[in-house]
C-alpha cells in the first residue's frame, strides 16, 4: 500500500500552496475539504485494511471531507462573502513564505531524530509543512472564514502525525477528537454569522475594540 502514500502526501502539499495563493473562498473551502478527504485515506495506505484504519478513514472522511465543508459553505452562503480581499500580506508573498516553510520543513525533518522507518519518508515533512501553511493562513488573512480554514489545515497536519501513531490513539479518542473539531467548527460558524450580523462583514480587522 505504501506506493500510494507518497503521491497522496504530495497532493496534500500542493493543496497547501493552492490555498495560500487563492482568493476565492468557496474554492478554498472545497480544496481544504479535499485535503481532509485525501488524508482520510492515509490510515488505509499506511496500515493497510485493518478495522481501526477503516473506521478511522470513514470517520475522518465524513467529518473532514463532508460535514465540516458543508457547514462552512452554508456559513458563507449566509454571509454572502465570496472573496478574500486585502490579506495582511499579499498572495504572492504568502506563497513564497509557504514555499520557504515547506522547504524548511523538508530540511528540518532530516535533522529530527525519527525512528528508522520514518527516515526519508514524506510523513513528517508534509505534516510540518501543512501545519506551517495553516499558521500562515491564520496569521495573514483577515476574513474569519479563512482563519477557520487555517485552523483546519493545522488540524490536518497534526492528523498526519496522528496516523503514524495510531496505536497511541484508540478509536474512541479519535472519534472524540473529530467530534470536537466538528462541533468547534459549528460554533465558529455561528459566531461568524453573528460577526457578520453585527458588523456587516466577516473581516476580523473590525474586531479591535478590545484593547488596552
Amino acid at each position: 500500500m505504501m506506493p500510494l502514500t507518497n503521491p497522496l502526501l504530495l497532493v496534500v502539499i500542493l493543496i497547501n500552496f493552492f490555498t495560500l495563493g487563492s482568493a476565492r473562498l468557496v474554492a478554498c473551502i472545497r480544496i481544504v475539504a479535499f485535503q481532509g478527504a485525501l488524508l482520510a485515506m492515509l490510515p488505509l495506505t499506511t496500515h493497510g485494511i485493518t478495522g481501526h484504519a477503516v473506521l478511522l478513514a470513514i470517520g475522518a472522511f465524513s467529518f473532514k471531507g463532508v460535514l465540516i465543508p458543508w457547514l462552512l459553505i452554508r456559513a458563507i452562503r449566509e454571509v454572502r462573502i465570496r472573496r478574500e480581499v486585502e490579506p495582511l500580506i499579499g498572495f504572492v508573498p504568502t506563497l513564497i513564505l509557504g514555499a520557504l516553510t515547506t522547504a524548511g520543513a523538508f530540511l528540518f525533518s532530516d535533522f529530527l531524530p525519527l525512528v528508522a522507518e520514518h527516515h526519508g519518508g514524506l510523513y513528517v515533512p508534509t505534516a510540518l509543512a501543512t501545519m506551517f501553511a495553516g499558521f500562515l493562513l491564520l496569521i495573514t488573512r483577515r476574513k474569519a472564514i479563512t482563519q477557520v480554514l487555517g485552523y483546519l489545515m493545522l488540524e490536518n497536519g497534526i492528523f498526519i502525525i496522528g496516523v503514524l501513531l495510531s496505536e497511541a490513539m484508540p478509536l474512541m479518542v479519535e472519534a472524540g477528537v473529530l467530534l470536537d473539531l466538528l462541533v468547534g467548527i459549528f460554533v465558529m460558524g455561528i459566531v461568524m454569522n453573528q460577526i457578520n450580523r453585527e458588523f456587516t462583514s466577516i473581516g476580523t480587522q473590525r474586531l479591535s475594540d478590545l484593547k488596552e
Binding site: P113, Y151, G176, V187, Q194
Partner: protein
Amino acid sequence: MLELLILSPLAAAALSLVFPWYQLRSWLLPLSSGLHLALSIVLVSGSFPAGGAWVGLDALSRLVLVVTSLLFFGCAIYAVGYLDLRRDRGNKVMVPCLLAFLSFMTLAIAARHLGLLWMAVEATTICSAPLIYFNRNRLSIEATWKYLLLCSVGIALAMLGMLFIAYAALGGGAPVSLQFDSLLATATSLSKPWLHAGFVFLLVGFGTKMGLAPLHTWKPDAYGEAPGLVGALLAGGLTSVAFLGILRGVQLMTAAGDGAMARQSLLWMGILSLLLAAVFMVRQPDIKRLLAYSSVEHMGLLAIGVGIGGLATFGAMLHLINNALTKGGLFLAAGNIQRAYSSKRLSEVRGAIVGLPISGTLFLAGFLAITGSPPFGPFLSEFTILRGIFANHQMVVGVLVLLSLATVFIGMGATVLAATQGESGPKNDNFRDRPLLYLPPLMFMLLILLLGVYIPEPLQKALSQAAALLEVHP
C-alpha cells in the same frame, strides 16, 4: 461512581433542553451541581478504587475536582438569581452549556488517558464560547472569536505535544500508548528529544488555555465581556483544569528524570506572567479586565510555585484552592457591581460600598484577599510559595515576585478603592443586593477566611500528597 459524576451533569444538560419552564430550568443548575459536589466529596473522602485505564482519580485530580465542584456549586446558585434578572437573554443556551461545561471539566480532571484529557479540554472551550457570548453585543463577539480561535489553536498544539510524547515512546522502544499510568511506568525509556518537544508543546497548548503570558491575550477580553459568573468559572475552574494538564506533563518529565527542565520553563513563564500582569494592572480602568490580569498573575504564581519545587509546590497546591475560590467571589461580586452601575469602568463605577453595601464590601474584601493580605487564605499560600523560593536560594526570583506583588497591590488597590469608596455614582435603582446574588460570593469569602486561619488535617494531607506526586521519586 466516577462515571456517574461525569455523566450526571450531561444528563441534566439534556434534560434542560426539553424543560419548558424557565425557573425550573435555572434551578436544574444548583440541583445537578449539588449532586456533583456531594458525589465528589464522597469519592474523594472515601477509599474507592482509583479507577481504570480511562478515568481515575489521584491526589492531584482529587484536589482540583473538589475545588471545581465547590466553585461550580456556588456559581450555580448565583446563576439562578442572575438568570432571573436576565430574562431578556433567556437561559436556553446558558443552562445546558454550563452543565456540559461542568461535565467536560470533570472528565478532563479524571482523565487518565492524555487523548481523553485533550478531548475534554477542547470540549470545554467549545461549551464555554456561547457562555462568553451571552451578552450578544459587538464586544462580546470579539471576545468570543478571540477566545475560540486562540484556545482552539493552542489546544491543537497541545495535541501535537501529546503525539510527540507518543512518538517518544515509539522512538524509545516503549509500548506506544497515551495511557498516563503506562507512560509513567515506562517514562525512563522515552526518547528524550521527543519528550522535551512534547512537553514544550503541552506547556504552550495548556498554557494558552490557562492564560500564562505571553499566551494570555484572549484572557482580558473574554473575562471582561463574559457575565460575572462565567468569568468566575473560567478564572477559577477552567484555569485549574488546564494547569492540571500542564502538571501531567511535569509529572511525566519528572518520572523521566528531566523534571529540572520542565520546572525551569514553568518558572520563566510564571515570572513573565507575573511581571506582565503587574504592568497591565496599574491604572486599569476596567474592573473585570483588572480581575483578568489578576488571574494571569496568579497563574504565574502557580507556575512559579511548581517551578521552584519543594515547599513552594505545596504552596502552589494550596494557592490553587485559594485562587479559585477568591476569584469566584471577586467575579461574582464584580458582576453584581456591573449590573448595578450598568458599567464595569471606573468612569461610572464609584462608591460601590455605599450604593451596593454587601457586594461592594465583598469586592473590597476579595481584593484584600487576592493581593495576599492576612488573614485570608491567599496570604498563607503566597507566603508559603515565597518561603519555598527563598529556602531554595532563588533570590532573584524571590525579589522579582515580591516586587510584582507589591506593584499589583498598588495598581489593583487604586482601581478597587476608587470603585468602592467615596460617593456612589449614578446607579440603576432597580438593582439591589439579593440573597441569591450575594450568598455565593459571601460563602467563598468565608471559606477563604477559614483557610487563612486554619487548614484542616485532611486537607493538609491531601495537599502534601498532591505535591508529592510532582516531586522526584527515588
